[in-house]
């Protein structure tokens, strides 16, 4: 008997290559698929080399239009409006899974796997994303929008492995990527900063404007709100003490600066909420990638959901707030500007 067909999202990097190899060792007929995101042929060529090295079929799927519409455009517009969006969250939901999974199922595959470091836990019909076994590499934050229905046919073969184990497996397999440095940046920024990327697109947010202190006095000039994100220190005028970006005020094209404590909030409001379980079960929230979770309580009214944090943290509008119970993702949403009371 020949094994079930599994599609593996092959990026050209070491993680997805090892994910493919793990599934193949498990008896699957693996087909490597790479999305053409319109970012040049390098990643696709690299993925093709990987597929050749492990001896699997390789396909390229055109995702340029979907990627531009669902990820890049919203990213630029949000930055121009003074927010700090997380494009990887959107991409996982809308493109990597949103486009590939239906294509895989349509083609008769048993499921779709990727090289993400996360686990899927829970019984069939109620599967949830959970943190990877090795927390340092955990990518569950970026996957919080995947629903139990989607997870029914998805696998993350690296969820139990450490990065070192993955590199070791890659070396054993003789994969050409074993020594390659890993990429952490947003793929479509290609070395530039988000600010420069957004101002080059001319969608707004790039006009210079005032830097205000907490009392609303002008204390300097900024180079365009798209270059700033709450909590950051860079690009602010000198003062009596270190200054941080406290908030961005798109209505006045202003950056508000103040001491570190002023950046921190005791709660955040959510938009685009998505719950896989009861919000009452939530124990803690991550308000940005790679941040440690803060204990919190979910307070919901008819029109608003607010996360009350156990201690204040810096949280940027546009980032995802991902809620956990233990290691399991319960749900979350996009952080929106705190309502003035």
């Amino acid at each position: 008997m020949s094994g079930p067909v599994w599609w593996v999202a092959l990026s050209g990097g070491v993680d997805s290559a090892v994910a493919a190899a793990v599934l193949r060792e498990g008896g699957a007929q693996v087909i490597g698929v790479t999305l053409d995101l319109g970012l040049g042929g390098e990643a696709i060529a690299s993925a093709r080399c990987v597929a050749d090295a492990i001896g699997i079929e390789h396909r390229v799927i055109d995702a340029r239009e979907r990627f531009a519409e669902a990820v890049v455009e919203p990213f630029a517009l949000a930055y121009a409006a003074g927010e700090t969006p997380n494009p990887c969250v959107l991409c996982n939901e809308q493109v990597k899974l949103g486009l590939l999974l239906p294509a895989a199922m349509e083609a008769g595959a048993a499921g779709l796997a990727s090289g993400h470091y996360a686990r899927i836990v829970g019984p069939p019909g109620d599967r949830r994303i959970a943190r990877a076994a090795h927390a340092r590499k955990d990518q569950s934050y970026f996957l919080y929008r995947l629903t139990p229905e989607v997870l029914e046919h998805v696998a993350f073969p690296l969820g139990e492995l450490s990065k070192a184990e993955v590199r070791e497996r890659a070396r054993e397999l003789g994969l050409p990527v074993a020594e390659r440095a890993e990429s952490q940046d947003v793929c479509f920024l290609a070395g530039t900063t988000a600010g420069r990327f957004v101002s080059a697109r001319g969608v707004g947010g790039h006009e210079p404007g005032p830097v205000l202190d907490l009392e609303g006095r002008v204390i300097g000039e900024h180079t365009g709100i798209c270059h700033y994100t709450p909590g950051q220190r860079k690009g602010l005028p000198g003062g009596s003490g270190p200054l941080f970006v406290v908030a961005i005020d798109p209505a006045r094209n202003a950056v508000v600066a103040g001491p570190r404590e002023a950046c921190e909030v005791s709660g955040v409001y959510l938009a685009d909420e998505l719950w896989h379980g009861s919000p009452d079960d939530v124990e803690a929230v991550c308000v940005r990638a790679n941040a440690s979770a803060v204990r919190c309580r979910v307070v919901r009214s008819e029109r608003l959901t607010r996360l009350e944090l156990e201690h204040p943290v810096c949280a940027a509008p546009g980032q995802a707030a991902v809620c956990y119970r233990g290691d399991v993702v319960i749900g979350g949403g996009t952080i929106v500007r705190e309502r003035s009371t």
């Binding site: 008997m1 094994g3 079930p4 599994w6 793990v22 599934l23 193949r24 060792e25 498990g26 008896g27 699957a28 048993a110 499921g111 796997a113 686990r119 836990v121 829970g122 019984p123 069939p124 019909g125 076994a133 696998a155 073969p157 139990e160 233990g326 290691d327």
Partner: protein, 383 residues
Amino acid sequence: MRRVYLDYAATTPVDPRVIQATAEALASWPGNPSSLYAEGREARSALELARTDVARRIGATHPDEVVFCGSGTESDNAAVLGIARKAVAAGREPHVVVSAFEHHAVLEATQVLAREGYAVDLVAPDVDGSVDPAAIGSALRERTALVSVMHANNEIGTVQDIRAIAEVVHARGAYLHTDAAQSLGKIDVDVRALGCDALSAAGHKIYAPKGTGILYLRKGTPFEPLLRGGGQEGGLRSGTQSVAGAVGFDHALAIMDDERPVEMPRLAGLRDTIERELAARVGPVTVHGSGAARLPHLTNLGIPGCDGQSLLLHLDEAGFAVSAGSACSSGSAHVSHVLRAIGVDGATGEASLRITVGRWTTADDVERFIEAAAAIIDTLRRR
């Protein structure tokens, strides 16, 4: 307190997706698959679709080689009794050879043959839990009728080299049956690769409803049916078929196959964690069968210095369902025939615990189990 089920080798809960497929089949095809009018033909068509898919999945050459039946035990009984009796009627010697650690469904069937005057030889596995094909060869007579060796053992999970055994058996013209109740869906089960003439499996080990099973009978294998009546299943198994049972079995097997590349490495990881961490907490434990190829989701541990039944009952009280030996022989405090067959005599004062993980088991469950088991073992040893 939430209970943690760690006895998937005893039985599996029915997967909700299988429940749905089975329920839909119950509602959709009320007819008798043997009836000639539309209701019957529709039911028959659903039944044959399930048969064709199961046949393809186990590598059968023709769908008719798959017989749906009522349980793994029925399948084992039918194979052992049916093949031996028909082969003997056709001139083979009334002699059967089985491994000493077969399931009771096979062993008891050979006892029926023994009462009919057959010679029955039991071949012991080695201390690792492997049945040596050469040992089977030595037990064979010139015209032995049937050999039955299980694909994977239900208590210690060791996987047998059925292909090599088939070569030895077929060289003498005898027939080979294998009980694949524990292996189907967990490892590759392909009747052509295994080379067996007959194979048995049960639905309730693969998240399908209890009361379902299959018997694979390679074309040309002599077989005298166990159940007589209306001649259903090509005359091989009379009794109106459970269309929903067949659909559920097929659906469950499809899920096992689809998820195996992902699920089995995960389960093997959980199993390895149990073996490693328990030894780290309570000192040396014996992993029965660890010297042989094993199923990924099963471990059978010998834990020195405590009693198996006490350990099982304390674990039950703490919320954990595990087995001391196999479920079929538990309730009796003596060492199981499987462990005795691999040389565990009970005199060493070891508790033996069979732990099997499955589709619902999480890393957290395993962690809690290790905590609880270590504490209980510690308490029992102090007594």
